[in-house]
């Protein structure tokens, strides 16, 4: 008899699945991308001999074409951005010019900026190995919250290469620049790795951190160049230039070889044909991951939310329940504490962890070694992320398997039905908006704290004298005969967090054991409204906790370990008011506008949903004060079509909001949470049925303005998709789940078509 749990290779497993008729009908598309050979260029003649020696020792005898271009730009003092897929040797694009410069002039300094601490730690090991085989005295250090106080002084004075993250630069380095004189006087290179992650609110903040950095460099007389590396996005050069306020050259083509990859597009079977309900993608993923586990294939599973990660970990841990102290299945997401994360990363590298379930925290270049397969639970929201996730499999080996499992959402279904979209199309744009006045003001305070502004100074590309006068009125600056000086005992960098819209995080405290309460994680306030309300079930590393008390004032959630068979899901109600209209296009029965709005987010109720069956087994009210915010929005107002009732309109708008919201990420690279779409049957400003598409961040970050520009394409795609959806009268894949069998699809198509036809 064949052994049940026999180890199999990826190719063997694919063959077995191909012969399985049940399995086969869920595969909508299978595509194998064949290996591609490398394109090489010789070492540059002037490349320092120690670097050459170290590369040769590693068996590198020539460079990939993109690495050579990077070196040439780098040493000629030209800022540049290199687009580099996973495993293309991107780090040499910056290591080569930087190390070469330091070897020729040991007083030279460089800053490497990574989006997370974990990435910096990882790159440090890599760089130190390279330096060691060069046999040269080059000092490189990570500088972050974990750096021991004893070596900080040494790093400040003598570190050639300082590897850090934007948050540390923002609050730990720039406000103390007088301790870093030798760095700022001699700074030659600023390396920004993973450029594509600097988008949306976070990217807008970092754009200011860089403007502040440049201002300090100028004070100390240095003029560093920027080297950026990015995953594939539509506008890498534009993003780099906007982020750094510096002109860049672009290196668009990679010379690195590509290994064989097999993509499976998997759609869960329909279990309720009338409503178009498919089997839960989470349950499908559980089954697929189980097969990979049993075949002995090291796998990474991506899920879009923390809750889904925890659900999957809970399900999959059933596999190891009978083994004692088995840690071969782990979760990995933001909100875990650093040492927990380090242990997981190590386990992946040494193979003791076989399946890791992750949110997009692991999308980035954290070195976790050879994973053979990757499962995406739903579309991660943009092509760049999807390719990054896919790149996790088969970095260093021949055959890799990538399974895309579609969820019920419109975008997921679109992607599973249009594999070309993922495999062949242009990726999205990454947008940032340093002009956001709230973000700008916060950083202007920091900049004033760091160095006084004169009466003629500008800040980056901004004229700021009036704003400085405002800060004087606010009482944080004083004006002398020549300058604006910071004059307050506040430390402005601590009043801004670069990472999330809300400025404060909620700390999660486990008080299960009396007398030894401990912090197990943290969460931004906006997410906390729906995830940490009283009675919420919070999952952490597969363990369930119930929130017993949310102290909203103190931003603390007290939780206790529980064992229940359900999870919770909460709703947020939103009220909107138009404050100011900046742009407007009027048509005969509809109009589109863009401007400032005020919104009130009110958490309403939560539901308790049973595991596995996903049935609703109870609900309750959430008692958290509403959050008020001013932001930018694009809105679409319609005249009521003839013979329609208000109720019909409500259904149509709700459906339209759902489908439009789903398709925006096809065009704009942003975190799904950065933009929201909300319908109002009777908008307060013009009493008309209106759809609001707004930036989920105070002051706006330019996303809804972009929507205003490309609305026709979004409408077209939405109408086409709703029309083509195989369901009868609307389903989660097109206009959202429907309560009734009235044909709301037609209504959605109708109302959107009216507008689109008039726009043409």
């Amino acid at each position: 008899m064949m052994q049940l749990n026999r180890k199999k290779s990826v190719d063997e497993l694919i063959e077995i699945w191909k012969k399985d008729s049940n399995f086969k009908q869920n595969i909508l598309h299978m595509e194998t991308i064949n290996a591609q050979p490398a394109q090489y260029a010789p070492f540059p003649e002037q490349l320092h001999s120690s670097i050459k020696k170290a590369l040769m020792e590693r068996g590198i005898e020539q460079l990939y074409t993109h690495q050579r271009m990077a070196f040439d730009y780098g040493i000629s003092g030209q800022s540049f951005t290199a687009v580099t897929p996973t495993a293309s040797g991107k780090s040499l694009c910056y290591h080569l010019p930087v190390l070469h410069q330091i070897l020729n002039d040991p007083s030279s300094r460089a800053i490497y900026l990574f989006p997370t601490k974990a990435l910096a730690q990882d790159q440090k090991t890599d760089l130190n190995n390279l330096i060691e085989s060069m046999d040269e005295e080059i000092l490189s250090y990570t500088y972050d919250g974990d750096t021991a106080p004893a070596i900080r002084q040494k790093i400040r004075k003598a570190g050639h290469i300082v590897m850090t993250n934007p948050d540390m630069l923002h609050s730990g380095i720039l406000p103390h620049h007088t301790k870093w004189v030798s760095l700022f006087e001699n700074l030659k290179y600023i390396v920004i790795d993973e450029l594509h992650t600097y988008k949306g609110v976070f990217g807008s903040h970092v754009a200011h951190v860089i403007r502040r950095l440049k201002r300090i460099c100028k004070f100390y007389g240095s003029d560093p160049i920027f080297i950026c590396t990015s995953a594939t996005i539509k506008n890498p050069k534009e993003l780099a230039e906007k982020l750094t306020n510096t002109t860049h050259q672009l290196i668009a083509d990679s010379g690195a070889p590509i290994g064989k990859k097999t993509f499976l597009f998997y759609n869960p079977p329909i279990v309720h044909p009338t409503f178009g309900v498919r089997r839960s993608s989470v349950l499908e993923v559980r089954d697929l991951a189980t097969e990979l586990y049993e075949a002995g294939i090291q796998t990474i599973v991506f899920a879009k939310s923390r809750v889904r990660v925890e659900m999957l970990v809970t399900y999959l841990k059933e596999l190891t329940k009978k083994k004692i102290q088995d840690e071969s299945i782990r979760g990995y997401r933001g909100g875990y504490l650093p040492n927990e994360r380090r242990a997981i990363e190590k386990g992946l590298r040494d193979g003791s962890i076989q399946i890791v379930v992750s949110t997009n925290a692991l999308e980035l270049g954290v070195d976790i070694g050879q994973l053979q397969a990757c499962i995406m639970t739903g579309y991660p929201g943009n092509i760049a992320s999807a390719w990054q996730q896919a790149g996790r499999a088969g970095r260093r080996q021949d055959s890799a398997l990538i399974i895309y499992v579609a969820g019920a959402t419109a975008l997921d279904q679109y992607v599973v039905n249009h594999p070309k979209y993922l495999l062949g199309s242009t990726p999205e744009e990454a947008l940032i908006n340093p002009e956001n006045i709230l973000i700008l003001m916060e950083h202007l305070k920091c900049a004033s704290f760091e160095l006084p502004f004169s009466m003629t100074d500008t800040y980056g590309e901004f004229e700021v004298q009036e704003l400085l006068a405002f800060l004087e009125e606010e009482g944080v600056l004083v004006k002398t005969s020549s300058n604006w000086h910071w004059m307050s005992d506040r430390f402005p960098a601590h009043e801004i967090s670069l990472r999330s819209a809300a400025q404060e995080n909620v700390v999660i405290i486990d008080w299960s054991v009396p007398g030894s309460s401990k912090v197990i994680g943290e969460m931004d306030t906006y997410s906390a409204m729906t995830l940490l309300h009283d009675e919420a079930i919070y999952l952490h590393q597969g363990i369930q906790y119930q929130v017993e008390k949310l102290d909203w004032e103190e931003k603390k959630a007290f939780v206790r370990e529980v064992d229940v068979d359900y999870f919770t899901d909460a709703n947020l109600a939103v009220e909107l008011k138009v404050l100011n209209e900046d742009k407007n296009k009027a048509y005969s029965s509809a109009q589109i506008s863009y401007g400032d709005v005020s919104l009130l987010a009110i958490p309403t109720i939560f539901k308790k949903i049973r595991f596995n069956t996903h049935e609703n087994i109870g609900s309750g009210k959430i008692h958290i004060p509403p959050l008020e915010m001013h932001t930018n929005s694009t809105w679409l107002s319609f005249d009521m079509p003839e013979n329609w009732s208000e109720e019909m309109l409500t259904d149509a708008l709700t459906g339209a909001a759902y489908s439009i919201g789903s398709f925006i990420p096809l065009y704009i690279q942003c975190d799904r949470k950065d933009l929201s779409v909300v319908p109002q049957v009777k908008s307060t400003h013009n009493e008309k049925p209106t759809l609001f598409i707004y930036d989920s961040y105070p002051g706006g970050i330019g996303l809804s303005e972009k929507v205003y520009e490309i609305l026709d394409r979004i409408l077209e795609e939405s109408i086409h998709h709703v029309d083509a959806c195989p369901c009868e009268s609307g389903c989660p894949s097109c206009i959202g789940a429907q309560d009734s069998l009235q044909n709301n699809k037609d209504k959605v198509v109708k109302i959107l078509s009216i507008l689109l036809n008039e726009m043409k």
Binding site: P452, T456, E461, Q465, E474, V478, T480, D489, G699
Partner: protein, 415 residues
């Protein structure tokens, strides 16, 4: 209107998008602030140098000026004591030192946005003490203030309270900003009385705030003092209103700090050089321990013996403990053991375990009294097992060590 609303209104002011490329300007002497005359009326005088203006207040004190328990001139007696004592100590001063007591007031606690707005300097001269306070006229006149401090001139011995980690780094930071303009900051010898106070009064004083030390040890109580945390607000207000009346209170606060530095130095010296002062067992034990750490064995023993001779066993547990360690090192095993035995019931758990361990070692290796060695090891084991001050892995390790020890001694005992 909310802050956020106001800011959104400001959006319209976001002007042109051209970056002005300005060459780094050569130093331009800043203008004199318009309120200078007002500040002078409050009791300050104006100095003008190449870098701008700075305000000054000077007070002279005769040697017999009394501040709390001491006259300032007793500083010279204190130095005399160090000179005649044979004991070397990092805290000691000599007549060769050019002594300057130093304290600043700042607009914040950290970062480049924190200004020093008051430099307080108190010089010890042969016939008098002289306080000079320099006040920042406005932040544009900072180079003038720094220059006037004369810290770029010949090296001095600077005595501070928490100066090593606060005032001095802060001064260095300000200096860095003007490094192209004013002469380089010189290197000065630093004595930080917060460090010595911590060594001397650990477990004796609850707070090491200078005002606490003044009241508890130096016999000085402040009347009408402003709390330090108000200083930044008062200075900002003086800039905005042009009135310096409240600011003068910050200067008095700073003056008291500096005078107390002198008497604190005198008092601490008396504690370290003599054994005459009435102080607690804890304090003298601290002093003995400090000398021990400085490898001043004789001094250390002198202070510890003072404690063991003058105080009850329950107050002199630590002194006996440290003394026992010292005696063991010198080979006086019997006396060491009896000190450990006297100490052992008057210590915290961790040190108690250490004392039993030492007793077990002495009895095993020196006295060959194996029964006693086992008995002490068992006492230690009992303590460790019920203690909750160890981490679990550490606890296991200690238990294992004692079990090994007992096992080994038992074998010796048989053979």
């Amino acid at each position: 209107m909310s802050y956020e609303n106001k800011i959104i209104q400001l959006k319209k002011m976001l002007g042109s998008k051209k970056e002005n490329v300005v060459e780094k300007p050569v130093f331009l002497k800043p203008a004199k602030p318009h309120y200078i005359d007002n500040w002078v009326k409050s009791g300050l005088s104006v100095i003008e140098n190449d870098y701008g203006v700075v305000l000054k207040r000077v007070v002279n004190y005769p040697l017999n000026y009394k501040h709390g328990l001491y006259e300032l001139g007793e500083l010279y007696d204190a130095i005399e004591k160090w000179e005649t004592s044979e004991v070397g100590h990092p805290f000691s001063l000599s007549f060769d030192d050019d002594i300057l007591f130093f304290d600043t007031e700042t607009t914040g606690l950290r970062g480049v946005g924190t200004h020093i707005f008051l430099l307080g300097l108190l010089e010890a001269n042969d016939d008098e003490f002289k306080l000079t306070q320099y006040v920042l006229a406005d932040p544009s006149n900072e180079a003038a203030l720094l220059f006037e401090s004369k810290f770029w001139q010949k090296p001095k011995t600077i005595v501070t309270y928490n100066g090593k980690s606060f005032d001095w780094p802060q001064l260095e930071s300000r200096w860095t900003l003007h490094r192209d303009t004013i002469p380089k900051l010189s290197h000065h010898k630093q004595i930080d009385l917060l460090h010595s106070s911590k060594r001397i009064w650990k477990n004796n004083l609850e707070k090491m705030k200078l005002s606490t030390v003044e009241e508890e040890k130096l016999g000085f109580k402040r009347n009408g003092d402003i709390p330090g945390f108000l200083a930044p607000i008062i200075y900002a207000d003086a800039l905005k209103s042009g009135q310096a009346d409240s600011l003068m209170k910050v200067l008095y606060h700073n003056e008291w700090d500096l005078l107390s530095l002198i008497t604190l130095y005198i008092h601490s010296t008396n504690l370290l050089v003599e054994t005459k002062l009435e102080e607690s067992a804890t304090t003298y034990t601290n002093v003995g321990k400090w000398f021990g750490d400085l490898k001043q064995k004789n001094e250390s023993e002198r202070f510890l013996r003072k404690v063991t001779n003058q105080f009850d066993e329950n107050e002199s547990g630590l002194a006996n403990f440290y003394l026992a360690i010292e005696l063991k090192r010198k080979g006086q095993y019997e006396e060491s053991a009896s000190c450990f035995e006297r100490a052992v019931n008057n210590l915290d758990v961790k040190k108690q375990v250490k004392a039993y361990e030492q007793l077990a070692m002495l009895n095993e290796h020196q006295f060959k009294r194996f029964d006693k060695a086992i008995q002490f090891s068992l006492e230690a084991l009992k303590l460790v097992e019920k203690a909750n001050c160890y981490e679990s892995t550490q606890k296991m390790k200690i238990i294992e060590q004692f079990e090994k020890r007992i096992h080994r001694i038992e074998n010796k005992n048989i053979s």
